[in-house]
């Protein structure tokens, strides 16, 4: 029993990483209806910017806030400069640009900051929480921040005009224009927010996996899996999906002898396939009903 509790808690801790990333993935999916393959690299790049700011002597939280701001602006600029010109192009063109962006950011980070692994500080300390040894204080802090971001998003989309306008622009751009919403700016705003959330995820993840240009490769996969599991249309679902995935991965590694730690990673892929086959809308995704 103790082993079980310990594994679940450890799973929640890694799940927090996936949840963070899944949230960023859902955010951009809501805004542009595509999965952004460059999302992880954007987050990685933001984390390097934070690292650089820290190297220049900024206090942690100042660097944290500043990085979020810089990432937001960068996200908006990427949309305006790269994606606005191809907004009417077919999906495949977008996919190609996503991949290009992925490669560019990855090599650029390597070029500027080189590929050696760097340590990234945590503001929450690394001592075990409550002295129990079950979950570290950084993990607990990470989960808390993820939940705060989720709450912020919920309030933003549910109760603000801009949030409503963004949902409308994503669901039906033509009608959104007809009620006077500037759809292009809503999309740019979505990119900015996704980049900002990605930056938060990157800065929280970096103390665990260490900072280097390829840090996000497997995490993005888990982020996608978490988002698909929870439902791509539901930020809350994505967070729950991320946590579930972390727990599932840990329990499978512990209790299914064949899986072990070697086969833990393909679990994300198995989950993606299983969800798409059995419940394409995800566990919490809203399946939109339409009468014609």
């Amino acid at each position: 029993m103790e082993l079980f509790v310990q594994q679940v808690l450890a799973g929640l801790a890694t799940g927090g990483i996936y949840a963070c990333m899944a949230l960023a993935v859902v955010m951009i999916y809501q805004a542009i209806d595509h999965l952004n393959f460059a999302q992880g690299e954007m987050a990685m790049f933001s984390t390097f910017i934070a690292w650089q700011l820290l190297q220049w002597g900024l206090p942690y939280w100042a660097a944290f806030i500043l990085t979020i701001g810089i990432s937001f602006v960068a996200g908006v600029l990427i949309e305006r400069i790269v994606f606005k010109p191809i907004q009417n192009a077919p999906v495949l063109s977008h996919v190609v640009v996503f991949i290009a962006l992925f490669a560019i950011l990855n090599s650029l980070a390597g070029f500027i900051w080189d590929f050696t692994i760097k340590e990234f500080p945590t503001p929450f300390g690394s001592s075990p929480l409550l002295g129990s040894g079950l979950i570290g204080s950084h993990q607990a802090g990470m989960i808390a921040v993820t939940l705060v971001v989720l709450l912020f998003l919920y309030v933003f989309f549910r109760y603000t005009r801009v949030g409503l306008a963004m949902r409308a622009a994503a669901g039906n751009p033509e009608s959104a224009r007809l009620v006077g919403i500037r759809v292009g700016w809503m999309v740019a705003l979505g990119w900015g927010m996704a980049a900002a959330i990605g930056a938060i995820a990157g800065m929280l993840i970096a103390p665990v996996v260490f900072l280097e240009p390829n840090m996000m490769l497997s995490i993005l996969l888990y982020g996608f899996a978490g988002a698909v599991l929870g439902g791509l249309t539901s930020p809350g679902g994505a967070v729950i999906g991320g946590f579930s995935l972390g727990v599932l991965e840990n329990l499978a590694g512990t209790y299914i002898p064949v899986v072990g730690s070697e086969l833990k990673h393909p679990i994300a892929l198995v989950v993606i396939v299983a969800v798409l086959v059995l419940k394409p809308g995800g566990l919490f995704g809203r399946v939109s009903v339409q009468r014609v």
Partner: protein, 237 residues
């Protein structure tokens, strides 16, 4: 009466195919004007060109402003509300959110809240379903919602594209009664595109007949209704 909308030489094309070949028409403030014509005559294209949903050339003046080439979002801000073909429902949002969106360009919170209640007065069925996902409404209810959403703008002019399309006759009559009320009591000018000519001529004060992208006849609705050729081709008696 003053001219609210003046259209001169309106031309539009989809790719290489010219759809509108220089359309001239006008709409008087407070009137109900209808554009009649067969399938493919260019009625929908005309409405889409007016509010910047497709590129168009020519001269369109609304309330003294030349709006040719304006972006849709800016045309809307002048007080032109478009109820598009297919109703343009935000299917994943609730009925009430759909109505709120109609007032997106307005800043007066209290006025918006009051207008939502006013729409529920016109369309009680929408009030019953206010928290329901709008995509689950019936066709008639969605058309009511589309009209309600357009009115939330407090428009000076409303464009309606085939409002009767796919609706049961009883619902159509209810809808057109409400449109008449809106025009009389709120002073909103209506530009109605309809295939059902008898219906449209019953509501309209002025009418234009479009054939393959050109105006071929215009006049008071009552006069057009009496015209021999219109009667034979469009009214069917």
């Amino acid at each position: 009466m003053t001219t609210l909308l003046n259209v001169r030489g309106l031309r539009a094309a989809y790719g290489d195919i010219q759809v509108l070949h220089g359309l001239d028409f006008a709409l008087e403030e407070g009137s109900v004007t209808t554009l009649l014509g067969a399938n493919g005559a260019g009625k929908t294209t005309t409405l889409r060109a007016l509010c910047g949903m497709i590129r168009a050339a020519g001269d369109v003046t609304f309330a003294g402003k030349r709006i040719t080439g304006w972006a849709t979002e800016d045309v809307v801000r002048l007080g032109i509300a478009h109820v598009p073909q297919g109703r343009g429902t935000f299917t994943r949002l609730t009925v009430e959110e759909n109505l709120q969106l109609g007032a997106m360009t307005r800043r007066d919170r209290a006025g918006v809240a009051g207008d939502i209640e006013r729409m529920y007065g016109y369309f009680p069925r929408l009030k019953e379903r206010r928290l329901q996902q709008a995509g689950t409404l019936s066709g008639g209810e969605q058309q009511m919602l589309a009209v309600g959403r357009a009115l939330m703008l407090r428009p000076r002019m409303m464009l309606l594209d085939e409002p009767s399309f796919g609706l049961a006759p009883l619902i159509v009559r209810e809808l057109f009664d409400i449109l008449g009320t809106i025009n009389r009591e709120e002073g909103v000018s209506l530009l109605v595109v309809e295939q059902n000519a008898a219906l449209a001529l019953g509501l309209a004060t002025d009418a234009y007949l479009i054939e393959t992208g050109r105006i071929v006849m215009s006049g008071a609705a009552a006069t057009i209704r009496e015209d021999e050729s219109v009667r034979r081709s469009y009214l069917g008696y």
